[in-house]
């Protein structure tokens, strides 16, 4: 489902040097059309050469070939001039209903589009069903776009009814939803509404079939691609090819909304200061290396983070017990953990095992937390906190006067 299949025979044929006697000869330096570029160690080495002194010097930190960029850059900035792919008469359609919160595709949406693209292959087309305006659909792999009218307020039943109508009109071979909170909800409503079975939480999406876990991940169920499926997060890769057309498809008039039962809906954003530690996205945590907890609290507030603490501070009553991080406190699921003056006892590290990124500031170079951290600063946290506060204050001031950007 990912790389195009290699055809060794064709590659050999392309490399054939014609008219060189009885024995066939091949030019192996010639690049295969679809393959990976062949490395030339000699020229790479030459590129690393610094200056032109008699004694050659090489900068080995500089990669001869920008390997990293291909990974870091988003797919749309592929060096070659991207050419939009147009599928004029698709053999079949694969529909995708992305969440697209705020008119922007989420990472999960892109993955589902990538999965749909893999299902569609060369002949099929991917049709995205979105509400209101949504950008970047073509780059994410959509050939067709159905724009439903944007609904006001929260009414999942009405949205499901609109999507049902659109799907009925589209007659797609497969329909994929993201298995997210809203997407999973919508998928189930639509599937039940259309009396179709739903293959939920697929962890593998390929033309051969879909696979989902069941019975507490003891078994997996596989099935040739069904009509309706939801795709688990991080199960499929984004679409990485050239942009697609994303041609708008007209749809019929509005569908009558079902009776309203929701009187009002208000969104309450998570307040980082009060959100339960186990749900927090970004935790700034204080340890024994801190003495000034007032500036710690200011840092937490300035970074819009959730405060945490090591056991010692909680035992001493300096921080509330519910802010304790660790095996005996709260086990975190945060994206980032910022540890100030925490050396990292084993029980504490157990609490942050699930954190993707860790930043640590500690005076002890050999502290376990420094080892665990993605960015480790061996420095007194007491000194770093005011510096951080000053920096944030400067930026705020700069923004307020419109003077410009901080670095």
């Amino acid at each position: 489902m990912t790389r195009p299949r290699r055809d060794p025979r064709a590659e050999w044929a392309a490399q054939f040097v014609a008219g060189a006697g009885l024995r066939p000869r091949y030019d192996r330096t010639r690049r295969a059309a679809a393959g990976r570029p062949r490395r030339d160690p000699r020229s790479e080495r030459e590129a690393q050469r610094v200056g032109a002194a008699a004694r050659p010097r090489y900068d080995l930190g500089q990669a001869g070939r920008p390997l990293g960029e291909a990974v870091v850059a988003p797919p749309r900035s592929v060096p070659e001039a991207p050419q939009t792919i147009i599928v004029e008469a698709p053999a079949f359609l694969v529909a995708v209903v992305p969440d697209a919160p705020g008119g922007r595709l989420s990472g999960h949406d892109r993955q589902v589009l990538g999965a749909a693209r893999a299902l569609a292959g060369r002949e099929g087309a991917v049709a995205a069903i979105v509400e209101g305006a949504c950008e970047g659909l073509g780059a994410a792999g959509a050939d067709r776009v159905l724009r439903l009218e944007a609904a006001e307020g929260y009414d999942p039943a009405a949205r499901a009814a609109r999507v049902e109508a659109a799907l009925a009109a589209l007659a797609a071979r497969h329909t994929l939803f993201p298995e997210s909170l809203d997407g999973g909800d919508l998928a189930r409503r639509v599937a039940v509404g259309l009396r179709e079975p739903l293959f939920t939480n697929a962890e593998v999406v390929a033309a051969k079939g879909l696979v989902r876990p069941a019975r507490g991940r003891r078994v997996e169920q596989s099935l040739a691609a069904p009509r309706f499926a939801t795709v688990a997060p991080d199960a499929a890769a984004d679409y990485a090819g050239p942009p697609r057309e994303a041609r708008a498809v007209p749809i019929d008039g509005p569908t009558p909304p079902p009776p309203k039962s929701i009187l009002s809906a208000t969104r309450i954003p998570a307040d980082p200061a009060t959100v339960p530690l186990s749900l927090a996205e970004f935790v700034v945590s204080a340890g024994n290396g801190l003495t000034d907890l007032d500036s710690f609290r200011q840092v937490v507030a300035a970074l819009h983070a959730t405060p945490g603490a090591s056991r010692v501070l909680c035992d001493a009553g300096l921080m509330p017990r519910h802010s304790q991080v660790g095996a005996s406190g709260t086990v975190l699921a945060a994206t980032c953990y910022f540890a100030l003056g925490i050396s990292g006892a084993p029980q504490h590290l157990q609490g942050v095992a699930g954190c993707e990124h860790v930043v640590a500031v500690n005076t002890d170079l050999h502290a376990a937390m420094i080892e665990r951290a993605g960015l480790a600063v061996v420095q007194d946290a007491q000194a770093v906190m005011p510096a951080l506060l000053r920096l944030l204050a400067q930026e705020t001031a700069g923004r307020a006067t419109g003077a410009g950007k901080a670095p």
Binding site: V71, L181, L198, G216, V219, L223, I268, V359, L375, V378
Partner: protein
Amino acid sequence: MRIAVLLSAGLHPVSGAPVLPRVEAQAIRLAAGLAASSEIFGLHAGPEAAAVAEALGQGLDRIEHVAVAAGEDPVPALVARLAERAPDLILAGRRSQGGDESGLVPYALARALAMPLMPDVVAAAAAEDGALRLDQSLGRGALRRVLVRGPVVVTCHPDAPAPLAYAYGRARRGRVETVAIAPVATPAPALAAEERPYRRRPRIVKGAPAGGSAAERLKAATGESGPAGSGRLLIQPDPEDAAREILTYLRQIGVVAAPAEPKT
């Protein structure tokens, strides 16, 4: 107020022992907290009532059991019983545990009973004139507060308050009643999936291109290529520099908003 809590025969995720799914125990707690005077009962459709007897120790006094053969769709039987009892609120877990875990049953019920469904609720309270105030989880502690007029089907999210402790004495006093029912709705279409032991698959690494080579994917996975690389270490930097580095790093991973953008 009459509240029905849907119970399923779950399996423990690690030991595989038959247990009450945690999220259903949380749903019981939501129901118990809603109104002291309300009538709360559990409802289970399955071959055996013993599978959900554990719920009696976690806040339910009475469970109704509708006998349904193993492997059969429980929805028609549940619809029939719920139509008879006509509860004002039907609570369920967002996914079952140990079965197909597709989470479709509450939706099928809501459709068949023509009731609205509110998913992923973490808190519930009675509002004025019979409405319900429900807090839906939007992940990471964000909520959507919805005012809804019942009767309504509500699924409970795992971020709801932790379940009440199991009390053996209460479980002993509670009772399970088996009710005979004639199913009314037709069963939902089923998928004939092939089953085999679960195989853990590598998660797709963020930022890795789909068409990249194995070497590129490895580099993306180990984070060797990016500037944020693995384990940057600054030894005794100037505090100002350290602060700048930290802030840059935090912005890179996206937990702190960029300076020029207004906060959302």
